[in-house]
């Protein structure tokens, strides 16, 4: 087991370093602004005094590395400073919305992951049949469509023409859980459509990749029926790539959420981020980026650790 722990520890360390580098990237990217933040936010027309006042308020007179350390120290404690536009605390602006975004992503993931894996195994089992081909065309179509296209199609059919679900996913704190699920059904479904197609294809590929291995032929020559060949012989060796696929897609959900939130006017971080970008509200943009990147890195980390833990060669060393 020692080797496995060492590998996992190494991977965790690497993840942490990556996160640190990304935080540096996010912070110093803003420093690349022509002029400085104060000037960029206030524009050309601002007087020298107002710009100077803002500089002082932001502490721009200190060296960038020191400001970075301050920012990072704050970020670790959940304090990202103050919004340049509204003056609200960034952590407050993000907090509730981030929970909403996570809820939507989790909602989609809970539906999508089991469906995708089961369907992926099924099409691998019936590979090259007519169902496999139809599934291939459908999944390709689904991953090729922009999220907003799928979103609007769903709105058109399920909200406008048949009004089964609300087109605008307005949710608030006091709602019951059932109500939450009902109101955010369409955005979740949009995400599910994209992600299921992706995961299904990759699960199928992961399994089919293994089918050429000699041990699969051996299993067939021992008289194992097709489902057993897939489930008992191929699947245990396919976990590592499948876990990777799942993590990759969960990470993708985080990105996809931004577009879907805008389509359905869902009160999540995505909306906030888009607004902040157009208003050049840098503290919010930086905070959102860091939060998204951290989630992304965390998921990839989980996938790698999962792959290490399911590898029999590593789990049972010589």
């Amino acid at each position: 087991m020692g080797d496995v722990l060492k590998l996992v520890a190494k991977r965790l360390g690497l993840g942490l370093v990556t996160l640190l580098v990304v935080s540096i990237l996010i912070f110093f990217a803003v420093e690349l602004l022509p002029g400085d933040i104060a000037q960029a936010v206030l524009g050309q027309s601002a007087t020298e005094e107002t710009v100077q006042a803002m500089r002082e308020q932001l502490g721009l007179d200190r060296a960038a590395p020191i400001r970075y350390l301050d920012w990072l120290a704050g970020a670790v404690q959940g304090d990202f400073g103050v919004s340049l536009v509204s003056g609200e605390r960034v952590s407050e602006a993000i907090g509730g919305r981030f929970a909403n975004t996570l809820f939507l992503a989790a909602y989609a993931a809970v539906i999508a992951v089991p469906i995708a894996i089961i369907l992926g195994i099924a099409v691998a089992l019936f590979r090259n049949s007519i169902f496999d081909r139809v599934a291939n065309v459908l999944t390709l179509t689904s991953i090729s469509s922009p999220e907003f296209f799928l979103g609007y199609v769903l709105i058109l059919f399920f909200a406008v023409r048949s009004s089964m679900f609300p087109a605008i996913a307005s949710i608030s704190d006091g709602m019951s859980f059932g109500d939450l699920l009902y109101r955010s059904f369409l955005p979740a479904l949009t995400l599910v459509l994209v992600v299921v197609a992706h995961m299904m294809r990759m699960t199928r590929a992961a399994i089919i990749n293994l089918l050429a291995s000699p041990y699969i032929e051996m299993a067939r020559l021992k008289g194992a029926p097709p489902w057993k060949v897939i489930v008992h012989h191929a699947l245990p060796n396919a976990w590592a790539p499948i876990i990777n696929v799942v993590a990759l897609n969960l990470a993708y959900l985080i990105t996809g959420v931004v577009l879907v939130e805008v389509v359905f006017v869902y009160p999540g971080v995505g909306q906030l981020l888009v607004d902040a970008v157009s208003k050049r509200d840098f503290p919010i943009v930086q905070a959102c980026c860091l939060v998204f990147a951290a989630t992304f890195i965390l998921l990839n980390l989980a996938a790698d650790v999962g792959a290490i833990l399911t590898n029999p060669r590593l789990r049972h060393p010589k």
């Binding site: 050429a212 041990y215 051996m218 020559l221 021992k222 012989h233 245990p236 010589k318």
Partner: protein, 551 residues
């Protein structure tokens, strides 16, 4: 073994045709083969690669690989016609009445399950035994196959067990349901000679004990002579001839079979070192080398003189190829030096001059990976001449023609072709031509014949010998095949685990007394005599064959 116990027929194949799918069409690869196998009989199927041995072996189970199909004829197993039997009934035969032992046990065991779990899968599936019974039976079989720790070894994962042991475990797995027939598909090809013996002995033993019929597929005549009652020779999907083993060995009828038997006849005069005091072309002196932390070479020294062939012999992992990498400069040694014509060469190839690089050329084992598939033959051969000699235009073309003539390929036919269009032997010849184009004094031949069929390999050896005479080349010949050493070497260097255990002129090496390892190596090479294995086992003593060989 020995005489057939009874005469009832177990497997009858008549006029079998098999097709393979390539380039959008079905091409016939087995053209009407007949085969009859009695209960308890062992049939050796022998032939070169592409003869259709494995395909026929699998067809005996009613199985065709993806991209293959049985297109005609009949396969009758114990009165059941397998070509028309529904899939589910066919499946019920596999593992229970017909079992299969694959070439690479390491790849054919599922890495995710314990060995014994895979062993008892079939008995449980067919409800022949209960779980505990099946496990007990597996352990009993492991013991019979003389696996170490038979009660414990099954509970390991495949990667925790050595190759030779895995191959025996797979034979045990094939025996799990006590099948009537086992197909052995080159079960010892991937093993070293010293490991091969124990697996051969174990297989022969167990097949004998349970009176199981077997089809033993191999390309190695000496191996099949130990195992089979009857031998069938195949060539390109056709049967050449079939006869009882001893008759086949003594008096083969067909010309092709005779040529197979005669293959190892090529032998040339042994040369001795020049006496005029000229320095060796290459002198390896006290070389140590390592990959990262693991040390792979220790204190390796030997000399190669002009016009001579030095064979470096050893099993996989002995450091033969690493020594070659040190000489070429791909792996700088930790200590020691490489002299070329008495001058020390820089350890890294990047630091060597073009002249130094030109003098040391290499011919590779796998001609497929040694030639760029997207480059024309004329460019492959022409590039060194252009690069070192600065040849251009018609000069370059005539040089390429000359080189093609030298390797006995028609320039008109081969000048404009690409490597994938060539056969294995032709590719290897192109590899030789590329080495010659640099006009070197010294060529490293890394297992150049081991991927080739015997007749083709023979041709390559003759060509290399001819070139050596004409161009006064020195060869370092890396090989694990002692037959090749016998035919072409002047001097032999025996390596084991990164050290040179013995070296000297060839005739001295093949005459006792030997170093113990050389002895083990020499005595482990199968001979054409059907009683060789039996005699050897008696000499070594039965208890000795198992683990002794793995030390």
């Amino acid at each position: 073994m020995g005489m057939l116990k009874d005469k009832d027929v177990l497997l009858k194949i008549r006029d079998l045709h098999i097709e393979g799918y390539s380039d959008e069409e079905w091409i016939e690869i087995v053209h009407g083969v007949d085969l009859t196998l009695h209960r308890g009989e062992v049939l050796g199927l022998i032939g070169e690669s592409g003869a259709g041995k494995s395909t026929i072996g699998l067809a005996a189970m009613g199985f065709a690989r993806d991209g293959c199909r049985i297109s005609g004829g009949s396969v009758e197993f114990d009165g059941m016609e397998l070509t028309t039997t529904p899939k589910s009934d066919l499946r019920a035969l596999r593992g229970s009445r017909i079992a299969y032992v694959a070439q690479s046990a390491a790849a054919s065991f599922n890495p995710a399950h314990k060995i014994i779990e895979q062993h008892i899968e079939a008995p449980l599936h067919y409800r022949i035994q209960k779980r505990v019974e099946a496990q007990e039976d597996a352990m009993a079989l492991y013991e019979r196959l003389r696996l170490p720790n038979p009660r414990e070894i099954g509970f390991r994962y495949p990667h925790q067990v050595s190759g030779g042991q895995l191959q025996r475990a797979m034979t045990a797995m094939a025996m799990a349901c006590r099948p009537d027939l086992i197909i052995f598909d080159e079960p010892t090809t991937a093993l070293d000679v010293t490991t091969q013996i124990e697996v051969l002995a174990a297989i022969r033993d167990i097949v004998d004990q349970f009176n199981t019929a077997a089809i033993y597929i191999t390309h190695d005549l000496a191996v099949v002579a130990q195992m089979a009652d009857t031998i069938k020779v195949l060539l390109k999907g056709n049967e050449v001839e079939e006869a009882p083993t001893e008759q086949m060995l003594e008096s083969p009828e067909d010309d092709y079979t005779k040529s197979l038997w005669a293959v190892r006849s090529f032998k040339r005069e042994q040369k001795s070192r020049p006496t005029d005091g000229s320095p060796p072309v290459v002198s390896v002196q006290d070389v140590d080398a390592a990959y990262g932390e693991t040390k792979v070479l220790e204190d390796v020294s030997f000399d190669i003189y002009p016009g001579m062939t030095v064979a470096v012999v050893g099993e996989s992992g002995s450091g033969k190829s690493t020594t070659a990498r040190c000489i070429t400069g791909l792996l700088p040694p930790l200590k020691g030096k490489i002299l070329f014509n008495g001058e020390e060469m820089p350890p890294r190839y990047q630091d060597r001059s073009w002249e130094q690089l030109r003098q040391v050329q290499m011919i590779y084992q796998m001609a497929d990976t040694a030639l760029n598939p997207k480059v024309r033959i004329s460019d492959i051969i022409g590039r060194p001449a252009e690069f070192y000699g600065g040849l251009k235009g018609t000069e370059l073309k005539s040089r390429v023609d000359e080189l093609l003539d030298l390797i006995e390929l028609d320039p008109k036919k081969f000048y404009n072709r690409y490597p994938p269009e060539l056969s294995g032997g032709q590719k290897q010849r192109i590899g030789i031509a590329r080495a010659l184009a640099a006009e070197p004094q010294f060529i490293i031949c890394d297992e150049v014949t081991s991927a080739l069929d015997q007749l083709v390999a023979e041709g390559i050896l003759r060509l290399l010998d001819k070139l050596q005479d004409e161009l006064n080349l020195a060869y370092m010949f890396i090989t694990h095949d002692l037959a090749t050493v016998r035919s072409i070497a002047d001097e032999v260097v025996v390596m084991q685990q990164g050290r040179v255990v013995e070296q000297g002129p060839k005739d001295a090496m093949f005459r006792p007394p030997h170093h113990p390892y050389t002895d083990l190596l020499l005595s482990s090479v199968p001979e054409m005599d059907p009683n060789w294995l039996t005699t050897l086992l008696e000499e070594r003593g039965v208890d000795n064959i198992g683990e002794a060989a793995e030390v």
